[in-house]
Every structure is written in C-alpha cells, then in structure tokens.
Symmetry: C2
Subunit: 210 residues, 2 copies
C-alpha cells in the first residue's frame, strides 16, 4: 500500500493509439469487468480477485495482465457505472416528460449512491488519490444533470430560475447524511421535496405519475 506508485491514468495526449485487442483478449476483458462489477457490488471492493477470475472462467494471470492492480479494475468498473448512470439520463429524457425524467433520474442517482455507501471509505481514497478520476466522473454527472434541468425548465414544467449546480448541491447533501438505517427513505423524500420546490411556480403543471 505504501510504496506502490499511485495508479494514475497514463496518457496526457488523449488516447493516441489504444491498439485494438485481439478478439479473445477483448472477450476476456469484458467478461472480467462484468463479473467484477457484480462482485464489487455484492462483496465490496475487497472482493476476491481470484474468485472474480474464476467466475469469469479465466486464469488469475489473465486478470492481472489486464488489470495490474486492484485499483485499475475498480476504476474501470466505477467509470463504467458512472457512464451507465449518465446514459440513463438520456434515455429517460427520451421516454418521459422532462420534469418526470429529472425526478426519475435523481431517484436513480440516489439508488446508485446507496449501493456505494458501504464502499465509501475505499472509494473516497481512490477518488482523492486519483484526481483525474474524480474530475472526469463528477464532470460527466453534472453535465447529465444539467441537461435534464435545462430541458425541464425549457418545457416549463419546472421553474426557470434554478441552476443545475444548485440542484447538484442539494443532492450533495446525500453524501454527507449520516449512515442511518432509514437513510434510503430519507434520501427518497429529499428528492421529492426538491422536485416540489422545482415545480413550484412552473408555467405548466405537469401531467405526472401517482
């Protein structure tokens, strides 16, 4: 833990030549990430790497060739999940009225944080250690949120005078909330409350759920 150089991202010149992997290598890599995501969600970031390799039906050596350290693997999984979260925003925006999409997405955001709660300590270490990872992902998330907020404001189903960063800030309270057993409910209510505030004074009433 001590002397090992920090596992930072490797290139400044934006991915110059990522070199296509051989077909089998790509297959194995994908499978590993898949299985690892599951394992980390279930057992935390300390999940056994040998078990992951086993479940991916791959030798332990293969795992280590693709991901030299545990942190590498965790980082990939983390980025992938953040990406999924952001893609969900686009999808929701397609399938629902803007304000509903926003609410559903925030709800999903809470779910996502919830699954990460147990890992908070080690994830925090990873995020403070690897600042690129932090700025990349938080930038990506706030961008997704911004689009949702602006779309809803444009549609007139939430008030127009709020900034996306304010909303993110409000959601940020979720991180710091104490780890009570009813944390999940609390956060759900927070989102609803936030939405009420956002809808108050909107030009249109929304034709919404429940």
């Amino acid at each position: 833990m001590a002397e090992r150089p920090l596992a930072t991202a490797d290139e400044k010149p934006a991915t110059p030549a990522p070199k296509p992997l051989r077909a089998d290598a790509q297959r194995n890599r994908d499978k590993l990430v898949e299985v690892a995501a599951q394992a980390f969600a279930t057992d935390g970031v300390d999940a056994s790497l040998e078990e992951i390799a086993r479940q991916a039906e791959v030798g332990i050596g293969t795992l280590y060739r693709h991901f030299p350290t545990r942190e590498h693997l965790v980082e990939i999984v983390y980025r992938r999940e953040v990406e999924a979260l952001c893609l969900a925003a686009e999808e929701l925006a397609r399938d629902h009225p803007a304000d509903v999409a926003l609410e559903l997405w925030m709800q999903r955001f809470v779910d996502y944080i919830a699954t990460k709660r147990g890992l908070a300590t080690s994830l925090r270490i990873l995020l403070t250690t690897n600042s690129t990872l932090f700025s990349d992902t938080s930038g990506r998330v706030s961008q997704a949120l911004k689009r949702l907020v602006e779309a809803a404001a444009a549609a007139g189903t939430i008030r127009a005078d709020v900034d996306a960063s304010d909303v993110l800030h409000a959601l940020g309270g979720i991180y710091s909330a104490p780890n009570t057993p009813d944390w999940r409910d609390r956060s759900g209510r927070l989102v609803k409350l936030l939405m009420d505030g956002l809808r108050f004074g909107a030009t249109k009433a929304s034709k919404v759920p429940r």
Copy 2:
C-alpha cells in the same frame, strides 16, 4: 479494507482501568513495538507482520492478539515516535541555550518528517481515518514547540513578537513541499532561514554555533 470498522481509539472515559499485563505479555508487547518501529522505518508500513513477529521471537498469534490490525500497530508506533520527538524537546531545552534548543529541535523535526515521507500516503489515510490520533499528536507537537519558542523569547535570544503557531505554520510548508531529491537540504535551509528571522531583533545576540 472496505467493511472493516474503523480502528478508533476505544475509550471515552480517559483510560478507566487499563489492566496490568502479565509480565511476559508486557515483555512481548514491548519487543514487538520495538521491532515494528524498526521495520516500518526500513520497509514502510507494508512491512511483513510475520517477519516482525519472527524478529521479535514471538508467534504470529501473539502479534495479532496484541494488535488486532496492522493499523493498531502502526498507530502505537506512531504515537511512540511523536512522544519521543516531544521528549527530545525537553531534553534539548535542558542541555542548550533556548534558541539553540529551538533550532536543533526543528532540525530534528525535519529529520522526523523525512523518514515519514515515503509513508505519506498510508499515513495520511490513517490520520484522516482516525481523527483522535491526529488531534492528539498534533496537539502534543505544537505544545512542545510552543515551550521552546516561549523559552527562547523569554531568554531574549529570539524576538518576542512571534507566536509559536506561526512557526509551526512555517514548518508546515515542509509537508507540502514537492518530493524532490534535494528536499532534505531545502528543508534544512528553511529551518536556518526561519531561525535568522527569529533572531533578528532579539535583545541578546546568541553565543552560538557556526
């Protein structure tokens, strides 16, 4: 790393009944700490615990009984070293004129930090994880420094208008200085520079070295 509860200090009511250890247990414990301090200094906080037990001529089980986690052991060693540093302040104060004592101690402080440089990452984690450890030790250190500064000011060998916390703050720059190879020299010069500043305008010139 993830789910294990933080290894916090255990009692609020200031050490109610620490229960005297059996003679052999105390002996083994002391030896372990001794050896561990050496090992951590040499190999970093990732030093092999089995090796430490071996060198202390003790079973691995004994080590784990005394120190349930690596962090426990690291914490004890760290506290012990901080304590030694502070005791050195008293000793120097006895054996030297106040301003000389101050300079020598700051030099020693730098040496101490130097040996901890390699461990910075994991130590930082430990110190942010265990806030009691941080406040205890930093309090102890600043108290030691305060005495040295005040004694020198009282003796008139440094100016009277400086606050110990300012000095500590100046020394603090050492932490954040980049990890260059000449770091050690730099820090030495910083201390000298600081002393010059402190002596400037003192009521008495010091009858000092070099």
